[in-house]
Symmetry: D3
Subunit: 285 residues, 6 copies
């Protein structure tokens, strides 16, 4: 798995800082890592490929530059192209046709963002500085969220005149953070910082600086990468499934899933390693 | 929308303290704002009307008097009339007929309480003092819960011999507060205060006094009232829908919902306001 | 209900420390209360019987000995018998047949664990010391979790090479503790202690020592046992149902459930007791 | 329950042809019983009142005049008033505000139609002649559908340029008629007759003439009215609940519902009647 | 698997007419095979054991005697014992306690009936003669329903004064038979015969006599018993799961289920048999 | 939209026999149109492109040659490559890794098949001759199924030793055909013909010959293509959504969907056309 196998994507750096660990860095620091629409699809493409790359067992998502994880959607870019700009149309569309095109467009947009959630390998976000709008759409798809103490979050949608949700509003209630707080920050677009995010459970770790947060996320990724990939990927799958289903459905699903997984040689290897206190080695997945 | 358009409801004060902001005050302080059954239906009627009043963009719910938000259902009143008092019946009912009448009655009762959740405009509760029983049935329907430091909550149902739920037991698990704590307070009817409510996330803000809590809620309402009503109402709708559905269903729903909402002129106005740093003005909804 | 009516179960002590209160103690301290598979089914059998015993209104679950609530599954025992050890088979099984047997086996295992959740009476867990693996499978089925300050939790599955979930991964997301934290501890199998468990809401009370945690749980059980058993059992049932369904389904279910429950004499007795400030006495259930 | 207790509703005849049986007749034959919007809400109001009238145990829905059950929505009336006609507005609305008003409007419209499904008493439709558009929105809410041999059904929405569903598209897949056939008639708006409707199961009885269909429906209503109203209403409720939930949820719901219903004196009376071959008499509900 | 391994159950004959095929016969012909409550639990016990017996691959359920599959619940027996007869109680129960006992009782009753649905092996019912009440509760749990031309079905519950559902009302809407017809027969308790049952799809085969229906069912069982038991049991599981879930959930579940099943040697054997036109032999399951 | 815009796909003919109508023909007649795995993905790619092609309003799916719509998966091809053939692997995989690869593979396979269901334009299948295995996986994704009188269907999975479902078992119960019949044909793999398929509702039209069936499907497609594409696509979307959700969810979804769709100019045009009896012309979508 040399990095060269991944087609380069503008505005993203893909590196492999440790065995089995990938780091995806949003890299458009001159624009505070603001996302254009092609960047969203690039991000989805990267995670779709990482998802089934047997050389990868955990992924860290970071933002380049000292000031922002991402400032959100690039409003200027969005107003110039995209489904709402009709400069290149010969004839105006009626409301329904415009609506149908918008829906297709939103579904594609959502689909690229959801690629982070569908990714079979755990994804850890290390947020810092300005983390507005799409920062939450993207990182509510991540499995674990860490941040530095200078982080400034905001659910910005209400300030651009719509609930143009590509995931934040749908996934925040499923992150098991208090609904009263979710409503408060979603309806006001007010900023909130690291301490508040930790208190309500949106992030599960706060670090001093951006560098420490990234290192914290990488350390977690390395730790996960040491575990059986069979166990790790099944754990992610079952937790995500259970979030959306009843307990009984969750139990049935994990029972079906484990019919094969329990037959893994990793079980024997892990048990043996536990008894002998040696670090086990697991085959790729 | 002069207040006179709202039929007066005994035991409720409806005022309009700021543009686009309504305040509903439970006002039966001599009985600690205890609810009779007609009061529940009055409350539902007020919120049903506010829901589609284009002059209203946010609503604050408060209790009059220094001692209580509400002490709960008026037990004396409940025992004298209502479905269980059979004084005006010629013939006794068998268990099944009594049950069928009770069910119809409970469904109507629930429906009036649920009017606060169905209300298209955000509702912010400012709780203080005694806040027992129906205080939680009602405020778990609100979007945001604030309280003063002297608040005394209790889930009282278990103390009146039944799980006569008109919402608390159903909605607390959806408020994303820890289940172990929910079970503890629901099975004991023990009191808990402001600090504990904040720690578990039941409220998202604690203020020193009743007056400060009310002012805090009004300030939040004013802030929300400045936003695009298209965006605010869609945000509430999508968050409530997502709470009850899978992530995939939530994403599909918001995509359908936004087919029209994205076409709002508010989007352009809000974007422009963001670029020019001016406060936008939005049409009514 | 003399204790003698319960068939003795090896490695479990069943006592009745207060009226209407049962205490189930895992008692295999020489092995840190590690579970063999027969012990899991014994535990299920005890709770199935307690569930409908009219002399019982609340149950406390504890672990014997100073060092551990339970160290998890007895790995040695599991490797010697059970579905994965094929010593007593004449012919090897193909992957699919092995899988079908495994699924049956996991479903039975889950079913015994779920007996604690199905138990109609509230169950309070008092955890202490080592509380690994199955400690969480079992206690996420309990209604309330308390612990002592020396508790050491771990979601161990990922360390034995699989997501062999008999409940932890399915029920943690429904315990309303933050998902980012759940993923972190489930993907690393790292230990966490009492303070962290309280902060995220996994437990709702921390006590100094094992003895104090047990006494705290018993005090809670006694308090619950004083309430109307009609109200207590309905509260548990409705909260569990609501966890897995939409708000509208939850309201409909509680309306159907209460058609009969509201007709209880406990309602009159409890209301009267409330007015006269006397302690009510309730019939068995 | 003299008919005079029901406020007269223009274009509907409410009669009581047999004990416990009501007949609601759409009566605007000069317009082929086409529905204006106020008529839809009138229909909902009638069924809401019948739902809890203890003198009623079964309801028949028919259309007056020889030519049509109903020709559908009155297009002319719809184009002159309603949410899309903006004659009485000072300022034009943007797409999003128009959409929000439309949604409120559709939800109210749906709610009036759904009153037939929510009605606790069984509703039997006797269709004849032209039965277009809203004829199916309304009668897919009914419990049983009969028709005369001259009936001409059509799912007309696709011909008015939208899937303006107030129930047909949502409820047809739940009527357990083949999906391939549903798609065919919904996507073409083609007519189909009595024989085809019976073959696919949309109706469960075909009669020679309108009069025979009405008499067949009344005979069925009389038969239902002889049964225990406790049993009849519970049967309707459980069947409708089960349609929308898993088998396990359905079983749990009926178990909660019957906690009280089984205690009905009707059970003893019905059993006794069965043994003595006498016709039982049941109290009202 | 000699029959002697099955404890004899009064009123049931268990035979093994062909390799891998079991026949369960309800045998209380002097009472038209009416069910007492112990018989329901016996039936559940038989199917629970057959479910995991590797010597069984398909099961036929029949009724002894020429006159009835079963006449339903034995009303006399039900009135003498069971939860509603309180002869052996010292003190009367209030409505709520009676309700709680009834619910426990109904859940147990449902559970024994559901054993036929949970049975991992396909169950084919051959109905004849009187097939009332519980006949449908039981056979809507079966996978395939055949009948003889003299069959007389009735959903009898409405005639005993309640919707005492132990499955019919919950499962009929899931059998994909038209809802209008289901409501008609459920609300009237009217009889219907073989031709009507075939037309609506309740049965999928009609035979001249009881003997021919039984032989038809056995022939189908033999045919199923020749197939790979891995494939047969997975097919049943997936079809039942899909009935209760969305298409997307169904696809996910079958993908998890097949992770191991596809690895069966049966796949190779079956493919080879298909190419060589020889009859394959499959290992037990 | 000249056909040349579509990349040619081996073994498929894509033609445009009428305005707005596409015909996709499976064309590998020398192998009875058996599917290799690349063909499945080609089929998915074609429908993904057709889905958003504004020049297309309805699609017909047919099989080339006189003998078969498709004989199913090409078993020989499947055994030579694909996830189960491990010829190109250096090291053997353990059961769990094999399982994880199989699951990824099945999910991709399902995804390509589901492209027909996701296609926003209606798809009409015209089946003839041998229509085995994947014939049903694919056509249960179609909206309407027609067939010729010589069709021979079979759900073949059980004969290849597994329930390797890529859709048939999941979607048949949602096609609203009787479950008893579904179980019978799925558990035996027996053939069934046109008459039986029509009787149970699997197809909604039977034609004499292959040519007549294709012409019947094309005629239906032309009829659909004349309707408003706004209305047609919304109708398909709402019917598919409703199949998988409760009635209340379905109504909410259609209300959200129509917020924009009702604003279409097609509504005015269609209404006007209805009044003036002229054929309306609709803009592309």
């Amino acid at each position: 798995m040399p990095p060269s196998d991944y087609p380069p994507q503008p505005h993203f750096n893909l590196t492999f800082p440790s065995p089995y660990v990938a780091q995806v860095e949003i890299s458009r620091p001159e624009k505070l890592n603001a996302f254009t629409e092609p960047m969203v699809h690039s991000l989805g493409a990267i995670f779709t490929q990482l998802s089934t790359d047997p050389s990868i067992r955990a992924i860290v998502l970071t933002g380049a530059g000292p000031r922002a994880f991402t400032a959100g959607l690039d409003v200027q870019s969005a107003s110039e192209s995209g489904p709402l700009s009709q400069t290149n149309r010969d004839e105006p569309l009626d409301t329904a046709r415009k609506a149908a095109l918008l829906r297709r467009h939103v579904l594609q947009f959502q689909d690229s963002v959801s690629a982070l959630e569908r990714c079979e390998k755990p994804v850890i976000a290390a947020l810092h500085g300005i983390s507005y709008g799409i920062a939450l759409d993207i990182t509510t798809c991540c499995d674990v969220r860490y941040c530095s103490s200078d982080v400034r979050f905001a659910v910005k949608e209400v300030d651009i005149g719509l609930a143009a949700d590509v995931g934040t509003l749908t996934r925040l209630p499923k992150a098991n953070v208090p609904m009263s707080w979710i409503k408060e920050v979603s309806l006001t677009a007010r900023e909130f910082g690291a301490e508040e995010a930790l208190r309500v459970g949106l992030v599960s770790g706060v670090f001093g600086t951006r560098e420490e947060a990234v290192e914290g996320a990488l350390a977690l990724a390395r730790k996960i990468a040491e575990k059986s990939p069979v166990a790790v990927q099944a754990t992610k799958e079952v937790l995500n499934f259970s979030r959306d289903h009843s307990v009984q459905d969750g139990l049935n699903y994990v029972a079906a899933y484990n019919m094969s997984m329990v037959q893994s040689t990793d079980v024997k290897d892990a048990m043996l390693a536990g008894l002998t206190k040696k670090k086990p080695t697991f085959a790729k997945l």
